[in-house]
């Protein structure tokens, strides 16, 4: 494993040094704009600290109001991190919030541990609880995940109510946050600074992740899990880690909340979980400001609106309904609508009416070359006696063997149900065979999951392209580089602040852009959302994502599905070009004309067994093949 990690880093360093000129051409902000962003960030930070200073020296009420809003802001943004980016709708955040608050209070109270020590303790402790909750998502997803975490909150509340040590329904007085030492007391209230810094750290971390190369990967885990796994993402681990981070933030929010004075079970029950989710959705899910706006609105509205309480609640509910019915994306949608009304939007620079044919550039530029290790002789891929069945009865694959030589194009054909897709899934690690062995580039990869295989040089595409529809073709393509970029997930939390992060984003964008050009996609499409592109462009994007990391072995699962005739020729040229670069390509296809035209060797499967394997011409003239497959 260590060798692979080192190799990944070495290869990435090579790429980084190899494409500085490419990075200059694309993906880097013009120098003055980069400077502008830096100035903006520093200016924003100064303004934030100045505002904190003003609040810390301001009225007690404003302090309390803003600290409550900030704490719910942390909760909302931490929930948005898991709900918006990874699709885990957690209703467990009130429970996590409670654990943070009660841990801080009880540990400080019972054992006298200083609160500054306890803050990181709460973060880690609740993060671990979150890792456990996140692990539940491996068993259940979607609504069931929401339900399971909902029960978690119920259980936490019941413990708080029914046990002595938590003070029962009456609750507990929170700990006191230590004042600044004498010299620093001009800064004002120390708690305000503490909350402001925690808020800044949490929001900063989430915004960094949103700006990082991990962001498209997280969306892929949410919307297109197999696609992410095929790019080398350990989706389960990443999901659990993201949930743990989110939980840790909720724990910090709870710890900060306990300093506001008083905690009792009613402040952490399931309705609070729902309220946090309402904050996220009402503000605008998966947006920078939405969760914070939602939290501010919900925590401040009842205090700042001094009207008859019954009318106030009616108004509160009516605003929920009106906002969400007319602006399903919440406050952010409403603000955008007003903004558009005030400032008519310029049409984006993309050519408006591009037809699909024009999108694809016939002039194929150089596609990425296979890494040097692929040039060795011998077999690129070998399957030995693969046996697999979906249930106890019939076998989908009954002892299939397959040998693919380096630098060849190998076709895999067979009638529907012959086991082609199953075999591909076994090679790619999505399915584990009952017996048999798979070898890639001379190394046995049995027991490695789908996410571990890209680091062995194996990449694949899927029959019907499933990608993240709300981000650009370019961003989707960068997902393919996941296995090439060292420690991407760990660095994501501070990505745009790290010079290496900014550099890697540039390199990744340049590499992805070059690859999209290489598969012949007009640059005008690169920045278009996948939701808005025609099918052919989507297929090419998927192809680009699978070769952007320069695999040595590439599996294309029905790359021609739904393509027009002209596009088929285009794909043929790309595949041949890949072979020229030393990439071994395995193509699963129904279009026999394409297979026998392009492939060096062909294997025919029928009913889970190999009918014939050999040079394309020989297979084509085989009688049994004609009988079972070509129907002649």
């Amino acid at each position: 494993m260590a060798t692979i990690t080192r190799r990944t880093r070495d290869r990435w360093d090579q790429l980084v040094t190899a494409v500085p000129d490419a990075s200059a051409r694309d993906g880097r902000l013009p120098r003055d704009r980069g400077r502008l962003v830096q100035v903006g960030v520093v200016g924003g930070l100064i303004a934030y600290l100045a505002a904190t200073f003003a609040v810390a020296n301001g009225s007690f009420f404003i302090q309390n109001l803003l600290m409550t809003a900030a704490i719910f802001g942390i909760l909302a943004i931490s929930l948005d991190l898991v709900a918006g980016m990874t699709g885990l709708y957690s209703l467990g955040h009130a429970g996590l919030f409670a654990i943070g608050a009660y841990s801080m209070t009880l540990l400080n109270d019972e054992f006298g541990i200083p609160v500054l020590v306890l803050l990181p303790v709460c973060f880690v402790e609740v993060g671990l609880v979150g890792a456990f909750l996140g692990a539940l998502s491996l068993r259940v997803s979607g609504l069931y995940f929401a339900i399971t975490t909902f029960i978690f909150t119920l259980v936490v509340t019941v413990i708080l109510v029914d046990f002595e040590f938590t003070g029962g329904l009456g609750g507990l007085g929170g700990p006191t946050f230590p004042d600044f030492p004498a010299g620093l007391d001009v800064l004002g209230d120390s708690l305000v600074w503490a909350v402001a810094i925690i808020f800044l750290l949490c929001v900063g971390a989430v915004w960094c992740i949103r700006a990082s190369a991990l962001y498209p990967v997280l969306l892929a885990i949410r919307d297109a899990e197999p696609y992410a796994a095929a790019a080398g993402v350990r989706t389960a681990t990443v999901r659990i880690a993201v949930f743990a981070l989110s939980a840790g933030m909720a724990g910090l929010a709870g710890a900060a909340f306990s300093f506001l004075g008083f905690i009792s079970p009613g402040q952490f029950n399931w309705t609070v979980s729902v309220t946090i989710l309402v904050m996220v959705i009402l503000g605008g899910m998966n947006t920078h400001l939405g969760p914070i706006l939602g939290a501010a609105f919900i925590s401040m509205f009842p205090i700042l609106v001094p009207i008859d309480p019954f009318v106030e609640q009616l108004l509160y509910g009516a605003i929920f309904v009106l906002v969400i019915v007319f602006y399903p994306t919440g406050f952010v949608g409403l603000i955008q609508a007003i903004w558009r009304r005030l400032r008519p939007r310029r049409l984006p620079g993309v050519r408006a009416a591009q037809d699909e044919e024009a999108a694809i550039d016939d002039d194929i530029e150089a596609v990425p070359a296979a890494p040097a290790e692929a040039a060795q002789s011998g077999l690129a891929l070998e399957c030995r006696d693969i046996v697999f069945g979906y249930d106890e009865g019939s076998l989908a694959l009954a002892g299939v063997s397959l040998a693919v030589r380096h630098g060849t194009i190998h076709g895999l054909i067979g009638p529907n149900g012959s086991g082609k897709s199953t075999l591909v899934n076994i090679i790619a690690g999505r399915l584990a065979p009952r017996s048999g062995s798979v070898t890639v580039n001379g190394q046995v990869v049995d027991g490695l999951g789908a996410a571990a295989r890209p680091s062995h040089g194996l990449m694949r595409t899927f029959q019907s392209a499933v990608m993240v529809r709300e981000i650009s073709a370019l961003a989707n393509t960068t997902i393919g580089l996941y296995s090439r970029v060292p420690r991407m997930a760990l660095r994501a939390i501070a990505w745009p602040l790290l010079p290496s992060g900014r550099r890697d984003s540039r390199v990744m964008n340049a590499q992805a852009s070059a690859t999209l050009n290489a598969v012949g996609l007009d640059p005008a499409w690169h920045r278009t959302r996948v939701a808005d592109v025609p099918h052919g462009v989507e297929q090419l994007t998927q192809l680009a994502a699978s070769i952007v990391a320069s695999p040595s072995v590439l599996i294309l699962d029905e790359p021609l599905a739904g393509l027009a005739a002209g596009e088929v020729d285009h794909v043929s040229r790309i595949v041949r070009d890949l072979r020229r670069k030393g990439v071994t390509v395995i193509v699963v296809e129904h279009q026999t004309r394409f297979i026998f035209d392009v492939c060096d060797e062909v294997t025919v499967l029928a009913a889970g067994e190999v009918v014939r394997s050999g040079p394309a011409a020989a297979v084509r003239s085989d009688d049994r093949v004609r009988e079972v497959y070509l129907g002649q």
């Binding site: 007690f60 309390n64 609750g171 007085g173 004075g261 008083f262 009842p302």
Partner: protein, 392 residues
């Protein structure tokens, strides 16, 4: 669609503006700098909202009278209150609001008492009136330990009610069972009953803690409790739950043919919620009443008339006792010649025999709840006259 959305944007905007520019709740003598602010926190919505409303209204009547008589220390008093919806988070936000707006004290809260008590202690800031129903909420460590230093509760006192009900049960029952909610309110009642029992060396035979939801009016199925009471051999039971749960319990028990005597709590007869819901089943139900309320003095009758004229509803003890609290505050501030919290606290601790609507009120360092068991009389519901009548 575009036009509709624009209309919606407008509608939302107008709603928000309407909300923000609404008149502040409560009234006052203008927002000039030369006024004193009295804050109010009470749950005026939720299933239990009438109590909070009574607290607010009673305080308002007192503040109006104080202002008509020249205010406190020559300054007019502004009474501002907000609904806490029985939510501790909101209660604590409101507390900080009044604190930073320079209030001289806060009245309440009857619904989030533990929160306001904790915050009053932390911030050395006086809270007065209906601090929950006194009891364990104010004496957080028990009646023998010092009370919360800044909470001065004039409201009904769970210790006192528990005490007199316990005493009556000692004299009239073979075995007593208690159903109570687990909050400081219910625990306070239980404490009062238990201490009278322990003083004579006897024990209650069944003590069941039932989680209720005061803000949503939840009622659990109480059938299992009725069986448990019968199994425990109790001939009396005290139901220290919400009035609607008490009504449900007595109806259920009577239709199942249970014959035990049922006691209520301080809320049972505070208004007509219980007796309206329970109907005939309430006959013979035992509760306690402030003795002077049975033979009201002229001041109390006057207050009730003013109150009824102003709010179109009958005054409840919560309104009457909250009125007293504001009146005591005026007296204390004028004696202290200051509205500083520490001076107010010192002077509050010296209040002796202040003429309240029900009789003299006294606070000392150790005594932060005005009402005691000796101020109470046992009453029994009579279905004929639909009234609570003194026993005998």
């Amino acid at each position: 669609m575009n036009r509709r959305r624009f209309a919606a944007t407008l509608a939302v905007g107008v709603l928000v503006l309407a909300g923000c520019s609404g008149t502040p709740s409560g009234s006052g003598a203008g927002a000039g700098g030369d006024t004193l602010l009295l804050g109010g926190i009470a749950g005026t919505t939720g299933a239990y909202g009438t109590t909070g409303q009574a607290v607010v209204n009673g305080t308002q009547v007192a503040v109006d009278e104080i202002n008509a008589a020249g205010g406190i220390l020559g300054k007019q008093v502004r009474f501002e209150w907000e609904d806490d919806g029985a939510d501790p988070t909101k209660s604590s936000q409101l507390f900080s609001k009044y604190l930073s707006d320079g209030a001289i004290a806060i009245a309440g809260s009857p619904d989030t008492g533990p929160t306001t008590v904790e915050l009053s202690t932390k911030n050395n800031f006086p809270i007065i009136g209906a601090v929950d129903d006194c009891g364990l909420t104010v004496y957080t460590e028990g009646p023998d330990k010092p009370p919360a230093p800044y909470a001065f509760c004039t409201s009904l006192n769970t210790f006192a009610y528990g005490g007199i009900i316990g005493q009556h049960a000692l004299d009239n029952c073979e075995a007593l069972a208690v159903l109570h909610d687990p909050s400081t309110y219910g625990m306070g009642g239980l404490y009062g009953i238990q201490s009278t029992y322990e003083a004579t060396g006897r024990k209650i035979v069944l003590d069941e803690s039932i989680t209720e939801n005061w803000s949503t009016g939840a009622t659990v199925g109480l059938r299992a409790e009725i069986d448990k009471i019968n199994d425990a051999g109790a001939d009396c039971v005290d139901v220290w739950l919400t009035p609607q749960d008490q009504a449900n319990f007595i109806s259920e028990a009577r239709s199942l043919g249970a014959t035990f005597t049922v006691y209520g709590n301080d809320e049972t007869n505070a208004d007509t919620t219980f007796s309206d819901l329970a109907g005939d089943a309430a006959d013979g139900y035992v509760a306690a009443e402030i003795t002077t309320r049975l033979n009201p003095a002229q001041a109390l009758l006057d207050f009730r008339k003013t109150y009824k004229d102003k709010f179109k509803v009958d005054a409840t003890p919560f309104a009457e006792l909250s009125y007293d609290a504001a009146k005591v505050l005026k007296d204390v501030a004028e004696k202290a010649k200051s509205t500083e919290p520490a001076k107010l606290q010192a002077e509050f601790n010296k209040v002796t025999d202040f003429p309240g609507l029900f009789g003299p009120l006294t606070f000392t360092e150790q005594r932060h709840a005005t009402l005691d068991a000796e101020h109470l009389t046992i009453v029994v519901f009579d279905k004929g006259s639909k009234e609570w009548k003194p026993e005998g």
